[in-house]
Symmetry: C3
Amino acid sequence: MSATVLAIPLWANLLAVAVGSLQGALFASQFRERRVDLLGVAIIGTATGLGGGILRDVLLGQLPRALQTNWYLTVAVLASLLGMLLQRVFNRLVGLITVLDALTIGLFGAIGATTALAMGLPDIPAVFVGVISAVGGSVLRDLLMNLTIAMMHVGSLYAVAAGAGTAVLVAMVAFDVPTYIAALTGTLVTFVIRLAAVRFGWSLPEQRALSRLPRWRRPR
Amino acid sequence: MSATVLAIPLWANLLAVAVGSLQGALFASQFRERRVDLLGVAIIGTATGLGGGILRDVLLGQLPRALQTNWYLTVAVLASLLGMLLQRVFNRLVGLITVLDALTIGLFGAIGATTALAMGLPDIPAVFVGVISAVGGSVLRDLLMNLTIAMMHVGSLYAVAAGAGTAVLVAMVAFDVPTYIAALTGTLVTFVIRLAAVRFGWSLPEQRALSRLPRWRRPR
Amino acid sequence: MSATVLAIPLWANLLAVAVGSLQGALFASQFRERRVDLLGVAIIGTATGLGGGILRDVLLGQLPRALQTNWYLTVAVLASLLGMLLQRVFNRLVGLITVLDALTIGLFGAIGATTALAMGLPDIPAVFVGVISAVGGSVLRDLLMNLTIAMMHVGSLYAVAAGAGTAVLVAMVAFDVPTYIAALTGTLVTFVIRLAAVRFGWSLPEQRALSRLPRWRRPR
């Protein structure tokens, strides 16, 4: 019923941060008419890459992992600047970046959920922390750019993919599956849902009210 | 001079969260042209219901209460979906929801302020924490929806009601009134001010500069 | 290699908060068409003055210093209201306020970076915490007012000044310079860069892609 802490190697963590930051910087650099300067792109990229993990650690009352070594901030800033400078190159690699990004969401979700479980949090809060870890960076990006939060709009399964993956992970841990296998499966579920959503144009239905209820109550 | 922790029963806490989430979801579902999807409504409702309490606990350096049991998140998500599905029903009950919401603000403010006092915080920070607890959810809702913060505009006494109620609570505790009585009184003050503001259209004056000052200094 | 905590006298801290809040309230009061009410101006001013320090303490997992005494919130609210009431007077003193504000950024950055170093954080995270302390208030102000974050746009060296000052501070501490001297130098560097940017219209280049790279690869 309890999870061991996932000992993700530092390089894998840093790769995930780099992909997040790169993707954030590429996103920010589309908005030329807003005259975001060099530093702005670096800030948005860094926030995208590190935001999820920092939110996770602040919620859990821990000193953010990104502040414990020099590596995270360095990698995030360099990846952001690289994304800005080489945007023409990376924009041709959009397929590769989408794949890496889906992997990143899955990995962040798994790290978040297992950290929460290892601290003794119940199942549903653990899923919540996993989702926040996975999508926090992109929410922070949209807040800082004063855009509507992409995640909440029709046509994006970002949060759904993260939620499904971490839910599977948490359920497996509840059935005593070893943490590593559960984390791998959860990451894979998120990865597959996210890519399938991009590939096949899946989306959630728009919000909808039960408009038939009144009709059923007054059948003439 | 010091407060005991308010032992609000869990069901009362959950009812307050449910009212907050319901109200957040009803608010979000008005914005059809923004194409907020199912998940978006659930996110906004959940953030509205839980935001104040999470902000309170993060500020006070505690593990958020909403992450300590499965109940809070479950109730918040279900109340949000209910609000979305039955918006026609609830929109006819707008009076009832306003009343429940006023009670919710009062209760959240009282929980926040007494928690802060019990931790040994001074009076003014305790009022501040109470107000953040009461209005944090609706501020988060507006941030996530990329709207201007309703609270800061003419015609809303949301924060004033919360501030007055928690100030009364803190003052009573300073005069050694038992915590429960102080909390009850504070909740009631918030409740009455908020409802009176809605009922009689009370509002704060717009910001104003002392334009008469220069005239007085140059009397022709 | 390690820093001692900077024992900034309380009055200096409060003066910095007052300048931040005054400046935030003056900023908010420009937007008359948004009908921000009395309370809104107080909230924005308070958030501007206290935001950086609260973000710093939350990131470092400490109870915010602004919640430990009655002074911070009192000073922030009073300075905000003063800024609103006497905006005509203060708008004539724009030069003085810019100078005080540059000093405030420098001081906040130095407090943030030395606090982080004293907790044992590595160098780059210490610079990061310093910058967040310095600019956090103005970022929060822009978020609450639903404006694009001023800091990220061409023509503002706010964050650059804070970054350069705290980087100098951290480097000096790494070379065993006493904390007070390092903090003084760092504050001064931030102060000079910020004022020079205002005076001479310095700005960072806009973001830019390496557009020459493709040309070099296809030389015809």
